[in-house]
């Protein structure tokens, strides 16, 4: 204990007597290292979390109901809708019908019947425009034209990635139709049935479920797809409190709905590749951040080594008058620890007080996501501990190297 107390005194006094600018520079380096450790993985993970948030906001909601395995559609959709409507936690919901069709454009201008048709295989979703707007704010994704009017028929919303001029950046990845805009007529063919629609609006979103989709009113969908039983393909639910989705799902399942449909929370329903990418980015971010740790530990090593080397004579004198070299080593470890702690503390403050609120308010505009900065407290704590322990080691090793040297040589300044 007395060795530690002496080490503490020596360490604190060394920091106090050091140049203020030296201290500021070291703490600054440590703060940057900590931020590097947090921010690199935080932005990579935030990119996926941003995508997940967008999928939750613009498409899937908090609870997703789909057909049970083996069923083509959700059985007893109307009963399910009645029952979920009675849940007090429910904020809104949307019933969706899904199918696939061929969208054709520019067929009226086509003169050469042997030539290539301007067609694209598309996903078709039948919606109640009012319910869908309430659920996902689909009209916010409009980049041209207007939203579906529930009292009108013969109109369609087309996802931008089905239209060549909007999907040019993706080259031939998606099947597209050309040169269409709101007001143009297109033909939607499902099996042997075709129907003309006027493009009411064009949708573009960072959620592919929206940009790679076409929307028509559910009545027209059922007629076109001959879905007379009113059984839908997907019911998405938004709750007043999204975090309650697990308990609401359990209540839905226990009410018997679990027997007739597959009920999932958002977390269960989110595509697995998103979770996989998130985990991969987390590991990648930690790896990149760990390079920062190596740089910081080398920096601390050099700083402490030069410091200890410059004080080698005083280290020798302290040993000469009987001070245990462990006390001297502790002094340098404490120095390194104080620098790591202060740097990390500043890093934490910058992360949680400045960066996270800033990126929440001003997400980074990635092509498929509005990237935010994600820094879970537990992950931050783990990174702090890693940085702290490595810094302590980086402080200890040079102090150990210098302090273990010959006492008289140190006092006399001999090599």
């Amino acid at each position: 204990m007395r060795i530690f107390r002496i080490g503490l005194l020596l360490g604190i006094r060394q920091i106090q007597r050091a140049s203020i600018w030296t201290n500021v520079l070291i703490v600054f380096v440590m703060a940057l290292t900590f931020l590097n450790l947090i921010a690199v993985s935080g932005i990579l993970v935030g990119l996926i979390v941003g995508a997940e948030r967008a999928v939750r906001e613009d498409s899937l909601g908090d609870i997703i109901i789909t057909a049970k395995a083996g069923d083509d559609h959700i059985s007893e959709t109307e009963r399910i809708v009645r029952e979920i409507s009675a849940f007090p936690e429910l904020q809104t919901y949307s019933v969706r019908y899904s199918g696939a069709g061929i969208l054709e454009a520019n067929y009226k201008e086509r003169r050469d019947l042997t030539g290539e048709r301007d067609i694209a295989n598309v996903k078709v979703t039948g919606i109640d425009p009012v319910a869908e707007e309430s659920m996902t704010g689909l009209s916010d994704a409009l980049i041209d034209g207007k939203y579906l009017d529930p009292n009108e028929e013969g109109y369609i919303l087309v996802g931008a990635l089905y239209i060549k001029q909007y999907a040019a950046q993706f080259q031939d990845i998606f099947e597209t139709i050309e040169d269409v805009s709101p007001g143009d007529t297109v033909r939607l063919t499902v099996g042997n049935i075709s129907k003309e629609f006027i493009i009411k609006g064009i949708l573009k979103s960072k959620v592919d479920e929206v940009s790679l989709n076409t929307y028509i009113p559910e009545r027209e969908f059922r007629r076109l797809f001959n879905r007379v039983d009113r059984n839908a393909d997907q019911i998405v639910i938004r709750l007043d409190e999204p975090t309650e989705n697990t308990s609401v799902k359990a209540a839905l399942v226990s009410s018997g709905l679990g027997d007739i449909a597959k009920i999932q929370t958002y977390e269960e329903g989110v595509p697995k590749f998103l979770t996989d990418i998130k985990n991969t980015f987390n590991v990648l971010g930690t790896f990149i951040g760990s390079i920062g740790i190596v740089v910081a530990s080398i920096t601390i090593f050099i700083i402490i080594f030069i410091n200890a080397l410059a004080r080698r004579r005083f280290i020798g004198i302290l040993k000469g008058i009987g001070i245990d070299r462990k006390a001297i080593e502790i002094a340098y470890v404490i120095q390194a620890g104080v620098y790591a702690f202060l740097g990390s503390l500043i890093g934490v403050i910058i992360t949680y007080v400045v960066l996270i609120p800033y990126f929440d308010a001003n997400p980074i505009n990635f092509p498929f996501s509005d990237g935010i900065l994600v820094a879970e407290p537990i992950g931050t704590l783990v990174r702090f501990l890693i940085l702290f322990i490595i810094t302590l080691l980086a402080g200890y090793i040079p102090a150990w190297l210098i302090a273990r040297g010959n006492t008289l040589n140190a006092i006399l300044g001999r090599k």
């Binding site: 005083f314 008058i321 006092i411």
Partner: protein, 236 residues
């Protein structure tokens, strides 16, 4: 002096450096005994080996051969940690250039070895202040070494060396970097420790006038003791 109690017994001490063509022997078989309460000066020209002898006697260095017993303890078998602990408990040092820790103030410089010996902080502070008072610097407790003159720093170094009441005080040319006034102050202080408290002192010096307060002067030349000069016998 045969009836006095020896505190240092060195026998056949040699110290060599280097190897091959660079092999040099600095000390060539030194036999010396120092009595408890004695004030001994080691003198000689530069390169005579006086500082090297003092480093061996003060356990700061290990002799190449020979035996050394201090305060009835054999030194040569001690580990590095044991030697450090032995220096803390038994010996005090005053170096040429003060050798105060620049980050610690005067009081802390004196306190650190006392705390290392196991004193609590309050007790160590009181002892340190008493020791600083005794060297005549009662207003300098909180001054950093850089804020003290050379003479004041050396007096703080003496205060540090004697605060723990060591059995032997070693002083390696303690006036080498001081002006004549400060040198005399430091020599008076060291001499008074021996005269008033019976402190055993071994001092290396170039200046004969500073050795006049000693009981004995050991004269060295070329790594050997060539003469011993008794200035005043030890009191009974």
């Amino acid at each position: 002096m045969e009836n006095k109690k020896p505190i240092i017994i060195a026998s056949g001490i040699t110290k060599s450096f280097g190897s091959g063509d660079l092999f040099t022997t600095i000390l060539k078989g030194i036999d010396v005994t120092i009595i408890e309460g004695e004030f001994v000066a080691i003198m000689g020209k530069s390169g005579a080996g006086k500082s090297t002898l003092m480093y061996q006697l003060s356990v700061l260095d290990e002799p190449t051969s020979g035996t050394l017993t201090i305060a009835n303890e054999s030194i040569e078998r001690k580990t590095e940690n044991e030697r450090t602990s032995f220096r803390l408990e038994t010996l005090g040092y005053v170096f040429q250039d003060y050798a105060l820790v620049p980050d610690l103030n005067a009081e802390e410089n004196v306190m650190v070895p006392l705390v290392m010996r196991g004193m609590n902080w309050t007790e160590a502070r009181a002892v340190a202040r008493a020791s600083i008072d005794a060297v005549g610097l009662p207003t300098k407790y909180k001054n950093l070494p850089a804020e003290l003159s050379g003479g004041e720093q050396q007096r703080i170094a003496v205060a540090r060396a004697v605060a723990g009441k060591p059995k032997i005080l070693f002083a390696d040319e303690p006036t080498a970097n001081l002006d004549s006034f400060s040198s005399q102050q430091v020599i008076d202080l060291i001499t008074s420790l021996n005269r008033d408290f019976g402190q055993t002192i071994v001092m290396v010096t170039h200046e004969r006038e500073y050795a006049l307060g000693c009981n004995r002067i050991i004269h060295m030349e070329d790594g050997r003791i060539i003469r011993e000069e008794i200035l005043k016998p030890l009191p009974e």
